[in-house]
Amino acid sequence: MLDKNGIARRIAQELRSGYYVNLGIGIPTLVANFIPPGIEVVLQSENGLLGIGPFPAEAEVDPDLINAGKQTVTMLPGSSLFSSADSFAMIRGGHVDLTILGAMEVSENGDIANWKVPGKMVKGMGGAMDLVASARNIIVAMQHCSKDGQSKLLKTCTLPITGLRCVKKIVTDMAVLDVLPQGGFRLRERAPGVSVAQIQAATEGKLVIDGEVPEITP
């Protein structure tokens, strides 16, 4: 099984030089720690920053400089700042190459649910609905099953939808899967020590297995 850093490290392998990338809150934020050597990407923060740098040293902390998770950050050389309207123009306009975000459920046709659990406190969708409606490429980072053991890779989402038919790839603690255009989760890789049978048992939606399924290489 992969831990959170393992999931982030595997997703970082999907980055390509020249990408503008939006990282969601949680595991996706960790992807920034594993950008492979030689790969140059620019990270977008939807509250109005391109070129997010590392967290600041104590002396550099600036209350006017935060990321979308409200954490203090720094700017890299070549950064730019802009309004929320400009930020979402970038997002809706298809200028962001890759969005990485968390999810509560993904369906086998690529629908994602990640903003609301009926009956519980609703905190809001933030920028997630804009991001999933427009991103050219969306990778979901999540646990394969919920805390009570229910599969999060489903035939149909049971929770309120964030966006339709938008997820392209999922990296979980157990596996790497592509969402097929015709529907279904194509199993690409499995986490070290996890069998195909275990993944099958943990996947409620249609799992497509074609040939050998290699282990994830760290």
Binding site: E46, N47, V61, D64, K70, S83, K123, M129, I161
Partner: protein, 230 residues
């Protein structure tokens, strides 16, 4: 042309119960701290507040929630606030949740005289309920209407006596659009300078949008998630 007022109390003159307000900021970053304090002191109630977030329990818009001055929030994300949650679950507070980009664009449209626009965000979700859906080039889009307000309260870094504003860092966020969408726009700034002291090339919000401006004081600029490198 005299836009300069002495302080937040003067700046909110005319604010009445039942009005619709816009308040800039993302989380606690770039919020109009002085104006929020003056609204609190005014006691105006039954307010509709359009703001990306609702502050935290004891700071930002959380202060106006504690004092029960807010009837309705229009926001994209309202976590981090226990009193908010209590009022919402008790049915004491109305909330309209919108995708963040839709919120930003509805405000921009309000200031730009565009009554509605189509966006892909929210198609097929609860946000689409009751809204027109239309196909363009094979994709579905939602019709979203503009937002305007009786008062817009924005926070800038520097401003001049003609109302020209410059923001700093990610404290810009919703402030520039809100500045355009208020019937009365109030700008509070950390440093107020004479007209002519700002480089016109660097102005983010032209003064035409701003009716009242003052230099704020005692900025706390609280940080929600102080995160440092180890």
């Amino acid at each position: 042309m005299n836009k300069v007022v002495a302080n937040a109390t003067e700046a909110i003159a005319g604010l009445q119960s039942g009005m619709t307000l816009m308040l800039g900021g993302f989380g606690l970053c770039g919020i109009p701290e002085n104006c929020i304090a003056a609204i609190l002191a005014s006691g105006a109630s039954q307010l509709t507040c359009i703001s990306n977030n609702a502050g935290v329990d004891d700071f930002g818009l959380g202060l106006l929630l504690q004092s029960r001055q807010i009837k309705k929030m229009v926001s994209s994300y309202v976590g981090e606030n226990a009193e908010f949650e209590r009022q919402l679950l008790a049915g004491e507070l109305e909330v309209e949740l919108l995708p963040q980009g839709t919120l930003a664009e509805r405000i921009r449209a309000g200031g730009a005289g565009i009554p509605a626009f189509y966006t892909p965000a929210g198609v097929g979700t609860e946000v689409a309920q009751g809204k027109e859906v239309r196909e363009f080039d094979g994709q579905m889009y939602l019709l979203e209407a503009w937002l305007r307000a009786d008062f817009a309260f924005v926070k800038a870094w520097r401003g001049d006596t003609l109302g020209n504003l410059m923001y700093r860092g990610t404290a810009r966020n919703f402030n520039p659009m809100m500045a355009t969408a208020g019937r009365i726009t109030v700008a509070e700034v950390e440093e107020l300078v004479p007209a002519g002291a700002l480089d016109p090339n660097q102005v983010h919000t032209p003064g035409i949008y701003v009716q009242r401006i003052f230099q704020g004081s005692h900025y706390e600029k609280r940080i929600e998630q102080r995160t440092v490198r180890k």
